[in-house]
Point group: C2
Chain length 207, copies 2
């Protein structure tokens, strides 16, 4: 994935190669343990070239977390999905984003870095806020679901619980590789998770 | 927390001090990045003493994850809680276990290590299997809820979804410190989460 092992001149794929190598390194060693030198070696470039693209480890980490998924894709899904399909579309987007190998590595690296370092935890919080929470609030307020609905918790709690269900699935499927969740297909995940996410965001009346 | 800074002879708290220092170090640097030398320094003991108690880094990590919670406490809660209070008791146990500072550090260290290292991911899987899944299966099978119920997914999926909801909450509350979840009291968490965990494990008929 990371291109040739030997040093080579800068090309247009160099930045992408560095980011791919960074995902693997951050995932394996956490934020503090990750070494720009090792990332350069894995990407087959001179360490100076890493510094050319990314001034600091923090900047490299930020770039790594911010490239795909484009936060706008999450925002658009939340803002424009049919209301009754919001849960399903979010589950499909989550799985499509993180299931590929590069996504798994990025997912693991993101939470390992947040655990290691307050600066990176802030980065992850900000990513979630911008990509998810702001748009959930905007959409559900526009639909008249911005507060507590049918005795359910207030919207910020409901949005947090929906995200908890997805993030927890991701941690167990990609990081821990708990056998049941690791083995489920995308359609099985959608069938099981979408109704829960939907119920968090758009609660029905109690039985 | 980790005792005096200077070197000192082995005492009966030494092992506990080493484990406390290990939680902080694994949480900060991940499994690969954690250094036994740094752990010894933080615990105020000679590195040889760390090796006296724990032959390898893997053994130290295992001991760190395995001391409280005693997996039997989870098992007993699952096996003996009133069926209609199973969700609430699991949420209360989860929060009581991980909310204290040492618990937060252990929680973060556990998932950071699982991300970094297949051996430690296997350790976390085995802990979940023994503490949670075996006993959920046993209890719910005894209650006649061992399969798909009311059109809900099969029990292994339901148990995995319940655990996803709790683990995801833990990752957002303890690791990412997402503001809404970080600010909720234990009772607020129970009020919001217990019905979901209960519904995963003991599904009611659909509306």
């Amino acid at each position: 994935m990371a291109g040739p092992r030997g040093r080579r001149p800068a090309g247009e794929d160099t930045r992408a190669d560095i980011l791919a190598a960074a995902r693997a390194e951050f995932s394996r060693r956490g934020y503090e343990g990750a070494s720009l030198r090792a990332i350069a070696r894995a990407a087959g470039v001179d360490p100076k070239l890493v510094h050319h693209y990314f001034a600091t480890k923090g900047e490299l980490f930020g770039a790594m977390v911010d490239i795909p998924p484009d936060p706008h894709i999450f925002a658009d899904t939340i803002l424009f999905a049919p209301l009754e399909e919001l849960g399903e579309m979010l589950v499909r987007l989550f799985v499509a984003t993180w299931d590929p190998q590069a996504g798994r590595e990025r997912f693991a690296a993101m939470f390992a870095a947040a655990a290691a370092n307050e600066e990176q935890a802030e980065f992850v919080r900000e990513f979630m806020r911008r990509a998810v929470f702001v748009n959930v609030m905007k959409r559900l307020e526009a639909e008249g679901l911005g507060g507590s609905v049918n005795g359910s918790p207030a919207l910020p709690v409901r949005a947090s619980l929906a995200l908890s269900q997805l993030v927890g699935m991701g941690v167990l499927r990609y990081v821990v590789r708990q056998p049941t969740l690791a083995a489920m297909s995308e359609d099985e995940l959608v069938a099981s998770l979408a109704p829960i996410v939907q119920e968090h965001l758009v609660p029905r009346p109690p039985v």
